[in-house]
């Protein structure tokens, strides 16, 4: 190709067309009060907040009256709590990595090469929700090789299957919002291989979908009780259930903190995603 030294051959500003009208600064609109929506929001908030407040009050209330944060200090020293937390964290991380490694290329492949198979994929990925967890865990335990039965990775594998419906739907809607075929072909025509295309082009544009899939996976792992209990692993939900009942305030507090932590993580991830989107839109 010839050198580009001829410079601004086409740099005539008169030929540059203007951005879309909807790119113009958004004028501040007068906020309208939607009473219906506000009422629903208040009712929903009460539905969530009142039990939460009651449980927290129960956990932190002193028998003599008033509140104390002293039960918080008891959590870390509660027998088995830290190991349960560590196990749940490990499982969440492993599950998230494996389910993403499995599902991202699969869903991309289905969208690109087998679009007719999407309906079948939806049905297949919803099966883990339909099949009762107990039937599931017994089946997996029976069929797993003996070396894997004593490993926490077996539980992670089960969680990968359980997370599939949520991850598939998040990715499916994320990919549906992209002109996938054109982006992939543009990337490949520029010399990028498949892995590079997924990593550099698709994953950044699926950020919201991946975020929501990750949050759902973490929430699922931190909240799953049945299979972990049947498989004899003391994850956080199992610990809450099995912990000595001489101090039920601590158990309740842990449950509430787990709930709160999930909400905080969810909020953080959504906020991070929004701020990144906003930054990327600033020129």
């Amino acid at each position: 190709m010839a050198s580009l030294e001829f410079g601004t051959l086409l740099a005539d500003p008169s030929t540059t067309d203007q951005p879309f009208a909807d790119d113009a600064p958004v004028t501040r609109r007068r906020r309208r009060v939607h009473w219906g929506r506000g009422t629903i929001l208040v009712v929903a908030a009460l539905y969530f907040v009142v039990p939460f407040y009651a449980a927290m009050a129960f956990s932190l209330q002193r028998p003599t009256g008033g509140f104390s944060l002293q039960p918080l200090s008891q959590i870390a020293s509660a027998p088995g709590f830290l190991s349960a937390l560590w196990l749940s964290t490990q499982l969440a991380v492993i599950t998230m990595i494996v389910v993403m490694l499995l599902m991202v290329p699969t869903v991309i492949y289905v969208h690109l090469r087998m679009p007719r198979f999407r309906r079948a994929m939806e049905v297949i990925t919803i099966l883990p929700i339909i099949i009762p967890p107990i039937a599931y865990s017994v089946g997996v335990l029976e069929s797993a090789p003996s070396w894997l039965r004593s490993s926490q990775y077996l539980l992670a594998i089960v969680y990968v299957i359980l997370a599939m419906p949520y991850v598939y739907r998040s990715l499916d809607s994320g990919l549906g919002a992209l002109d996938l075929k054109t982006l992939v072909e543009a990337s490949r025509s520029l010399g990028s291989g498949w892995i590079s295309t997924i990593w550099r082009v698709l994953v950044p544009n699926l950020r919201s979908a991946l975020m929501s899939a990750s949050v759902l996976t973490i929430a699922l792992v931190f909240g799953e009780f049945t299979i972990a209990n049947v498989d004899n692993w003391t994850t956080i939900p199992v610990w809450i259930y099995l912990a000595p009942t001489d101090n039920p305030r601590v158990n309740t507090l842990v449950a509430m903190i787990a709930l709160l932590a999930t909400c905080v993580v969810l909020t953080l991830i959504v906020s991070l995603d929004r701020s990144q989107s906003r930054d990327s839109r600033r020129s």
Binding site: A2, L4, L9, L10, A11, D23, L183, A186, L190, N205
Partner: protein
């Protein structure tokens, strides 16, 4: 159907050394189930030449481009680039820049990063690739938009960034897949001229797919008209217009009217005048015939006793296109607008043929 070809344009005459690679479609066949998208397609493209693949929807032009790009593989035949068979080379190793019909910029990257993407893949240093991206964006007139994201750019600007991105990798062949079709008319005309100017400056071999004959005729060195997966004719725009090799090309390219004719040896009688038959007489089909006439092949004069009646008129600027109903045919005739005042609707007129010869084909049912 016979294929007609012209010699590839000599790009040296444009004052720039051709830096693109020659491209050969060698007997390409591609089938999708029962549909044959490419039917033994053969085409030679010279280095630095811009060839437009023109045809109606489903004629196989996009399939041909996708086979060249490496997004599809032929069932039979070969694609040669610079003399090498690339039929089985993956798209990412073909060094071809492509601009797509739909906006294909990566939404997560600004204009500069989009342009620099191919260079990043080629492990160029950050400073180098940024400098080159800025240079290319300047070249396409977007030097002040380097940090803008795709959603902050108009359609025309996005396509110009896509063009800069395709050029950044210094491709052996530039592929344009209807890049202007999503743009409004004014931007389309501007960008059309810009792409052509840039292509001529860089003397890069370019294959341009379009269904818009005006685009093809105004931009291309040669136009390849395709129909049902086959090449109907490859020629310069002027030859294609003035000497269509097949009835399909005659009907598809430009505007033409069909008139029932009677053959008399090597002539046909058209509107009362004997006119020589164009092309190979042996190829003229037997049976009922019709002639294809361009608007400028006909003259119209007002005559109160004439056989024709003006049925419609369209002002086109310097010329006015007049529709004349005569002997069961609807003829379209171009007259100078200054002389069209007398040709009101319902005016009786005479129509005569001024062409040196005419293209003759089998009479279509509607004529």
């Amino acid at each position: 159907m016979a294929m007609a070809t012209d010699t590839p344009t000599n790009v040296e005459t444009r004052g720039a050394s051709p830096s693109g690679a020659p491209v050969v479609f060698d007997n390409l066949t591609r089938r999708f189930g029962a549909t044959t998208a490419l039917d033994r397609l053969s085409l030679d493209i010279a280095p630095g030449e811009l060839v437009a693949l023109l045809g109606p929807s489903g004629c196989g032009k996009t399939t041909a481009l996708r086979v060249l790009a490496g997004f599809d593989r032929p069932d039979l035949g070969r694609v040669l680039v610079d003399g090498n068979d690339v039929s089985h080379v993956p798209a990412q190793r073909r060094d071809m820049g492509m601009v797509f019909q739909s906006y294909s910029l990566f939404p997560n990257m600004n204009a500069r990063d989009n342009v620099a993407f191919g260079l990043q893949i080629r492990h160029q240093r950050t400073a180098q690739r940024r400098a080159k991206a800025a240079e290319l964006l300047e070249l396409v007139g977007l030097g002040e938009h380097v940090t803008k994201y795709p959603h902050q750019l108009s359609g025309g600007q996005q396509q110009r960034v896509a063009l800069a991105r395709a050029l950044a990798i210094e491709p052996r062949v530039l592929l344009l897949d209807e890049p202007l079709s999503a743009l409004d008319a004014k931007v389309r005309a501007e960008l059309r001229d810009q792409i052509r100017a840039l292509q001529q400056r860089l003397a890069i071999t370019t294959v341009f797919v379009t269904h818009d004959q005006e685009e093809a005729m105004s931009m291309a060195d040669r136009v390849c008209v395709m129909f049902q997966g086959r090449v109907e004719q490859v020629a310069t725009p002027s030859v294609l217009y003035s000497q269509p090799a097949t009835p399909f090309v005659g009907r598809f390219v430009g505007v033409s009217s069909r008139v029932a004719v009677t053959r008399r040896g090597d002539h046909v009688e058209v509107l009362g005048r004997d006119v020589p038959i164009r092309g190979d007489l042996a190829a003229v089909p037997a049976g009922e015939l019709e002639a294809l006439l361009r608007p400028e092949d006909l003259d119209v004069t007002v005559n109160p006793n004439g056989l024709g009646v003006v049925t419609h008129r369209s002002f086109l600027g310097a010329t006015t296109r007049v529709g004349v109903g005569i002997a069961g045919a609807n003829l379209r005739v171009d007259v100078r607008s200054a002389q069209a005042d007398d040709l009101e609707l319902g005016t009786r007129v005479d129509v005569s043929v001024n062409a040196r010869d005419v293209l003759v084909t089998t009479r279509q049912p509607s004529s």
